[in-house]
Amino acid sequence: MSVDELGAAVATVRILDEAGDLVDGADRPDSDALLAGYRQLVHGRRLNEQAGALVRQGRLAVYPSSRGQEACQVACVTALSEGDWLFPTYRDAVAIATRGVDPVEVLSMLKGDWHCGYDPAQHRVAPQATPLATQLLHAVGVAHAARLKGEDTVVMALCGDGATSEGDFHEACNFAAVFASPVVFFVQNNKYAISVPLARQSVAPSLASKAVGYGMPGVRVDGNDLGALSTVLGEAVEQARRGGGPTLVEADTYRVEAHTNADDATRYRTTDEVDEWAGRDPLTRVSAYLRGVGALDDDIEAEFAADADRMAARVREGLGVDVAPDPDELFAHVYATPTQQLVQQRAALQGEFDVEEA
C-alpha cells in the first residue's frame, strides 16, 4: 500500500456542509446542544472582534485572532468535564473564555500586565503557551500523573499546524501513546504558521496521518463544522477517559485574519483564498441548520447578540482599568522564597524609588 493510500485512508469527518445542510449519511445533531454551542460561537466571535478593536485602540499590544476557528475553540472545551485540563496556545483565548475564565483575565497578558492573567490551577487551564509544541508535553505529564493517582482526568492539548513540525510534538505524541495517557491532541490546521503555508510544513496527506507512526488513532475533521468537531472530540475524550489512550485530531480550518495585528497577510496569500474560506464560516452553517430545524429565530439570535455585547462591554471596561505596575512582582514569584540576592536586588530597586521620591 502506498503512502498516499495510507494517508488518504484518514478521511475528513463532516456533519453539516457550508450551507448548513446535513451531509449524506451523517447523524442528525442534537439541536439543543448545537444551539448552546451556537451561543458560544457568537460569544467567541464577539470576543475576537472586541479584542481586535482593543488593539486598534491601543488598549492591547497584540492579539492573535481565532476568527474562522471559533468552532474549534468552542468544541474542544465543551468536550471536557470540570476536572479535565485544557492546554491552550496564544491563539486560544476564545477556548479559554469558553472554559469559563474571565476574558479580562485572559487578555491581560496581551495588555502587558503579567505573563499569565488567570490562575491556571483554579480553572484547570494551563497558561497560554508561546514556545510552540512545548505545552503538549506538559499535557502528557498532567495526564500521566492523573492516571497514576487514579483520577479519570482527560487533557485537551492544543497546537497549530506549524507546531506539528517541532520535535516536542513528536515526543509528546509518542510519550502519550506509549503510556496510553488520557490526552487528546487537537491540531487546528489553519493552513498557516505566520506566513508559512501548510505545504512547507508537511507533505503528508494529512496531519492526522501522523498518528499512524505513534500507534494512536488519527482523525481529520472539518474544523468549521461544530457538530462534527463535537462528535469527534467528544469520542476522543471519552475514549481517553475509559483508558483507551490518546487520539490525534486534526481540524481542517483557516486563519481568516492575519497572524496577529502586527502581521501583513497580503504578503503571502491572496484575498481570493481568504474570501473562499470566509464563505465557509463556522457560524453561518450552524445558524442556517438551526433555523432550518426551527431551533433558532431572530429573537434568540438577538438575545445571544445582546449577551455577547454585555460580555464585550465588560471586557472593554475591565481592560480600561490600568493596573499600576508593581515592581515587587519582578521578584516575588521567581522562587517560592526569594533568594538573599533577590531580596537585595529588590531593595536596590526600592532605593531608586526612595531617591526619586526624595
Binding site: G112, R200, A262, L330, V334
Partner: protein, 328 residues
C-alpha cells in the same frame, strides 16, 4: 558612501551583499522567505535571489540549525534566523554539541562556516519569550564566535565579517534597534571580529558594554559629562573572541569601570568582564568593577520591563559608588 538606514536595513544590506559576493551563501529560517521575516530583515531576498537562496523551512529550530550544519559540511555558508532569542533554545543541543564542536571534533578537516542570527534582548514591550538576553549561553560555549553590534554600521560590518568567518558565529541583533534610523557608512565599517571599539574616550571611569547596552552607556556618559564626570565607553562588538587589550587599556587608564549588560547578572558575560578586568588590572583599580545588569529574574512582562532594564540613572549610581573619596 554613507546612507541613512535602519538596523534592519543594514542587516538586509549585509545579507544582500554577501549573497551577491558568494553563491554559497544561503538564508533560511521561519518566515524569512516571501514575508521577509517578522522584522523584515530578509525583505526581498527570495524575490531577488530566488527560492533556493532564501527560503522558509518547516517550523523547527533544531531542524534549521542541524540542516545548516549539514549544508556547511557540504560547502555552503548558511545564514539562519532564529525568530526570537527564546526560540533558539530548541536548537541548543545542535548548537552546543555540534555547531560549536564540529571543527574541533574533526581536527579542523570539517569546519562549519555558518551564522546563526538571533534577534535578542528586550526593550520592545514584547510578550514573554520574546526578550531574553541569551548571550551567556553561547559565550560560555567554547567553539562559538559571538558578536553583537550596537549600531547600524557595525550591524552591517559584523554580519559581513561573520559570513566570511571560517567558524560558526552567533550574531546577536539588538532587536529594539531594528527600526532606529542612522547614517551608515558601509565602506568605513570595521569588520574585524574580535576587536572592541572605544566609542567614547574618558578620563574618570570606563563603561564597558555591548549590543543594546552601548547606546544606554553612551547616554549615561553624556549625562555624566554635564555633571563634570568624564566617562569613556568601550563597545565590545565581539564577546568571543574577547578584546582584552582594548578593554584593559581603557580601564588601566581610568582606574574605574562599570560593566553594563541587560542579561541577568549571575554567571553572565558581565561576570566574565568584571572578573577578567579585575585579574588583569587589579593594581590599577581604585574600586571594584561594578556591574549594572538585569536582575536575576525571568524577563518581566511589558509593563514592568522598565524596572528591569539598566538605564542611565542606574549606571550613574554605579559610577557614583566607585569610591571616589579616599577609602579607609
Amino acid at each position: 558612501m554613507t546612507a541613512k538606514m535602519t538596523m534592519a536595513q543594514a542587516i538586509n544590506s549585509a545579507l544582500r551583499d554577501a549573497m551577491t559576493a558568494d553563491e554559497s551563501v544561503v538564508v533560511f529560517g521561519e518566515d524569512v522567505g516571501p514575508l521577509g521575516g517578522v522584522f523584515r530583515v530578509t525583505e526581498g531576498l527570495t524575490r531577488d535571489f530566488g527560492e533556493d537562496r532564501c527560503f522558509d523551512t518547516p517550523l523547527a529550530e533544531s531542524g534549521i540549525v542541524g540542516m545548516a550544519a549539514g549544508m556547511a559540511m557540504n560547502g555552503m555558508r548558511p545564514v539562519v534566523e532564529m525568530q526570537f532569542d527564546a526560540f533558539a533554545y530548541p536548537a541548543f543541543e545542535q548548537i552546543v554539541s555540534h555547531v560549536a564542536k564540529f571543527g574541533n571534533r574533526t581536527r579542523g578537516t570539517l569546519r562549519l562556516p555558518m551564522v546563526i542570527r538571533i534577534p535578542y534582548a528586550g526593550g520592545i514591550g514584547g510578550v514573554e519569550h520574546h526578550c531574553d538576553s541569551s548571550e551567556a549561553y553561547y559565550a560560555h560555549t567554547a567553539g562559538l564566535t559571538v558578536v553583537a553590534p550596537a549600531d547600524n554600521t557595525d550591524a552591517y560590518a559584523l554580519l559581513r565579517a561573520a559570513i566570511e568567518w571560517p567558524d560558526p558565529v552567533v550574531y546577536l541583533e539588538p532587536k529594539r534597534h531594528y527600526f532606529s534610523n542612522e547614517e551608515v557608512d558601509l565602506a568605513a565599517a570595521d569588520s574585524t571580529i574580535g576587536r572592541a571599539a572605544v566609542v567614547r574616550k574618558g578620563r574618570d571611569a570606563t563603561l564597558i558594554a555591548y549590543g543594546p547596552s552601548v547606546p544606554v552607556a553612551l547616554a549615561a556618559a553624556e549625562e555624566a559629562a554635564t555633571e563634570g564626570r568624564d566617562l569613556g565607553v568601550v563597545d565590545l562588538r565581539s564577546i568571543v573572541p574577547f578584546d582584552d587589550d582594548t578593554v584593559c587599556e581603557q580601564v588601566k587608564h581610568t582606574g574605574r569601570a562599570v560593566v553594563v549588560a541587560e542579561a541577568p547578572g549571575f554567571a553572565s558575560v558581565a561576570s566574565e568582564i568584571a572578573a577578567r578586568v579585575t585579574e588583569r588590572c587589579f593594581h590599577y583599580l581604585e574600586a571594584p568593577v561594578r556591574r549594572v545588569t538585569g536582575f536575576d529574574i525571568p524577563y518581566p512582562a511589558p509593563k514592568l520591563e522598565h524596572f528591569h532594564l539598566p538605564d542611565t540613572a542606574r549606571i550613574l549610581d554605579a559610577v557614583d559608588e566607585l569610591q571616589w573619596e579616599e577609602q579607609p
